[in-house]
Symmetry: D3
Subunit: 158 residues, 6 copies
């Protein structure tokens, strides 16, 4: 028998039964950091609604992707997210953009996968928008920063 | 005027016109590597159709995600992919699973984003399947390994 | 700082947090009116399950589109609609079909966009079904007729 | 027997067989104009990547909706669009924003519905972003401006 | 090594590479037959655009489902179907409705799954529309009737 | 006036208003049985994560399809399923695989269509995986086995 909750006693994948869980306030924040050539970073920083707003496009892509999580991750529950936000921090020292995505829900299951999906797709959209000038961009870290709510309580990345 | 092809002269985002490009054989391979606790890696390695096949689920999630790329990445063209495959390499030294995704197309535009999306969603699915035992898993690198076909020719990651 | 609720203090688009709003009965009705040549209107009026039921197809398209609203309108919340209906009124004087769409929800956010999306897609479907005989059909007015429920209360178009 | 191509001899709806049609260059442009209070128009005009870029969000929504047309309009063919662009013209005299959407394809069927869907969803997104300050905004005209390619040739709205 | 084409040498599922296959005219027809109480059949037969057109709704559901096949069947290729039609035959002797769905494509892979998906979803929609009066309805046979085109040639059910 | 709840007094299809129904625990189980050549059954039985796990792929396809039911069945409500599981029983005597799908929800409407959709798509996926060796496979029975919860109470197939 697997210790992994997404499998039943016979090893078959299933969508975990959350019907018995409490409806609580749940929140999760995930990060994805994309490293690039300094000139690419400058192109993005110079952009705005007039010159081409890479981060505006990536933010929307992340928000919309959060809503598609149950379509993408096979065993995720469909959720009625109450809030999604995606923010960017430019790290000039590392020539990197850090994407932070936060999702919230009043519900029976956590929203970690929604936050991770939003951050990942936002970072991939930055890649798509800039790949013609910098194919070597790399997402150097994608991870859960924190989550709260539910029986397993609060988690914060060390 | 932006140097980024996804914006027009006025800085407005648009889906690039690929109508004038040649139909050629296009291929791309992307990688995403997810690092985890050694016990988590062992759980995944022990899994199979009887005990819970994490990698089998992640592979399918990656393949299906490749087909949704144009739905996720705002300025990507809808494509009739001719082939998608997703493979895993276990790196015990680093306690890491490396996802490799390859996409092919006979068409007018490249399939880098499809390969990157497949690799990313496969890695996120591994996270989802194992997060109950290891919330600290981190995708430490997501990048394009190589692409070929089209006017910009062949690219290989250094 | 923007007065528009879909942007945060820094001007970044986000999905508004509705977690703190009350669950109330919400309802909205929207209209879209499509004008056409009198012969086109007659073709549609003569249609039925035997001769081709344009309005039956358009009604279903509208109902199904209401369920996709959160997929289409970037900052809309995913909602579990409790009811969707789409009706048609033939206005022979104006040679026009008026689409009315009504959506209901017990939830934390309004359903105006769902009603507007249903009415718009139903009208576009009428266009699609008849465009081979009348490419000049025009949707002359799409608007919210009324909405109720929630903190902002009842609105009725003047 | 119906004169409408979307029905067969018995009046049953079907997706028209386009297998025998030539692959030609097809293009269509549609417009949707949304009228609003002058203060609402000013809010949108003042917006940018720093204060909230309503039109940037609406443009992306329109582009992404064009790719979903076959999902929304029941009898539309799935198409591999080669190009989608969405532009806005501010008409201060009429206190109105005019959305223009253009789609292109090398294929066997026209792209009128894709252009109309893009324009409609972009206009509805403007409504969504501003509805908290102006619920009376109205899309006063949605129509095909021109289309070219295919057996039925070129059409231009009078 | 599996004899099943959807697995590679190592037993991993993949989307078969069809890039090397010829573009030929492909067609497939599938059937699904749903048996019901005679009174239920009579309700459906009496229905029309005025009294409730069960088969009109089921036909559209089938056509739209054909377009979603690659979203539903994990290893199916995304296809630009050129034609989809769904028809119904009432079999009063057996108290049964037979759904026939036909799909066509000029492409590199067959459309059997598209035809089977269209027939299945049309039959399930009949179930949905009538389940309040007859929960015991049963789809007694779903199968491929014939397919043509491609290297494997023509198949006809015996 | 129709006796079918999916039509209103005028015979127009609509999504039934479930806003007044109680939130209760709802559950449904459906079955789909696919008959095949004995050699095909053997190929599937021999399969595993190393040789090709047909049933593992079909299970995931069924689970993911349950989440898409409201997208496929036109008048179904979008639901936040709390649990989905799909199991297989090999019937060697009949050379058949029986798919059982169970869905659960705390909500205002039943989940019969979700269970039927999951079972149907899992069976079609088995067909897809094996069709290269056995095009004559037939789904010989798809039906609701039982459902509970809601005003109409419990139903069990005879």
């Amino acid at each position: 028998m697997s210790k992994l909750t997404h499998f039943d006693k016979k090893g078959a994948a299933h969508m975990v039964d959350v019907g018995g869980k409490d409806v609580t306030e749940r929140e999760a924040t995930a990060a994805a950091s994309i490293k690039m050539a300094p000139e690419t970073l400058k192109l993005i920083q110079d952009g705005d609604a007039k010159k081409g707003d890479v981060l505006g496009v990536a933010r929307l892509a992340g928000i919309m992707a959060a809503k598609k999580t149950a379509d993408l991750i096979p065993l995720c529950h469909p959720l009625a997210l109450s809030n999604v936000s995606v923010d960017f921090t430019v790290n000039e020292v590392e020539s990197m953009i850090e994407v932070h995505a936060t999702c919230k829900l009043k519900g029976r299951t956590g929203v970690e996968m929604e936050a991770l999906t939003a951050a990942s797709i936002a970072a991939l959209t930055i890649y798509d928008m800039c790949k013609a000038v910098d194919r070597g961009m790399t997402i150097v870290e994608t991870k859960l920063l924190k989550k709260s709510g539910g029986k397993s309580g609060t988690y914060e990345a060390s």
